[in-house]
Symmetry: C2
Subunit: 197 residues, 2 copies
DNA sequence: CCGCATCCGAATAGATACTG
DNA sequence: CAGTATCTATTCGGATGCGG
């Protein structure tokens, strides 16, 4: 676990000592939507080994980014410090969008939701209040826009202004992902340009 | 390199495929102050092997973050895309500052300047115009604050409002780094709170 | 020297099998 | 289900060599 630290008197180097190793930031991304169990995290990270995931979680916990929920439902959740990476990961995600290859990659519903959240530009929201539900083949999320912030949550919304429905298990999968938009279409037209997509 | 890509349809994962490997972001940090030659970069990255540095530079060039200057003075410089990482690295540096260990780490002048630049909070500058010169034992930098932005440059300033002088080769070295402030002290008092330090 | 390619021991990652 | 143990493949770090 980074017994190889950079040992530089620099916030960036120390940040990388904590979250710079392979998988670490993707684990944080996975937990941004809420606590998850070991296997749920692993399912979001195709290719990670159980040993590495265990080591990373332990390491992130050691630095106070992640907490292990005790008792039944034993799961991992981000601490405040962990959640404070959210805006940074959003920026990185926007920065990296042009590098996403067009083919040969996997799609997961949560990834697309995270990228939608990343694409939100608060300066365009102008106080807008809206709830958008996303219904994909096997999962549901909803987006809450309020006070110039945008947050994704798992599951259906209590009451949605707009519903976006996709046949595929994820959004953004090329090809057959035709989207159906239902609900308040004026609201959709206001919400749409708040996202850099 | 990174033949092991995450292969996820996600901007964050792709960003990490490009700059997520060891040393990559520190190379970008090094070049933020301006073009540098191979050995100059290496000098800023204690512990990196020449082979790795060469490989990373080639990889970053392949993705269009770095350009190799041809001809005499052959050096490496960031492209626009490379420079666009600056605000992200600033955020990461501020995030990681609390993880910087108190002892057992190296100090380089440029690292401390980068961290000062990272600590600048534009919303507090309120249109302030100022130039601050930093004179350390073996190097000089200057900070230009204008239009609510802050930028570090190498070398002395043409005309500085404030001069910060340090006996040690770097600022922020614990212990013997006593700072001498000379120049417009009213200006210094206005500038100081613009930095989260 | 400077920029890099090569080689080698050590550390990390990936895959799979195994255990409470 | 939640990991640990083990083995193999890859990458890293450091030293060395070599052409410009």
């Amino acid at each position: 676990m980074t017994l190889k630290t950079y040992s530089q008197n620099c916030g960036l180097a120390s940040a990388l000592d904590v979250v710079g190793e392979r998988w670490s930031l993707l684990i944080v991304r996975t937990l941004l939507v809420g606590p998850a169990r070991f296997n749920e995290i692993q399912a979001q990270l195709p290719g990670i080994g159980t040993n590495l995931l265990a080591a990373r979680l332990k390491y992130l916990a050691r630095w106070g980014l992640v907490e292990k929920q005790t008792g039944r439902q034993g799961s991992y959740r981000l601490t405040e410090k962990g959640y404070s990476l959210r805006p940074i990961l959003h920026q990185l995600a926007r920065w990296g969008r042009e590098f996403v290859p067009a083919t040969g990659i996997e799609n997961h519903p949560w990834w697309s939701m995270f990228n939608i959240e990343s694409a939100f530009r608060p300066e365009r929201a102008d106080g807008l209040d809206a709830v958008i539900e996303f219904e994909m083949a096997e999962s549901e999320f909803h987006l809450v826009i309020r006070k110039n912030t945008c947050r994704v949550a798992a599951g259906p919304a209590l009451s949605a202004d707009v519903i976006v429905k996709s046949d595929s298990p994820s959004i953004f999968v090329g090809g057959g992902s035709r989207l159906q938009i239902t609900g308040d279409s004026a609201m959709f037209d206001r919400v749409r340009p708040c996202f850099d997509l």
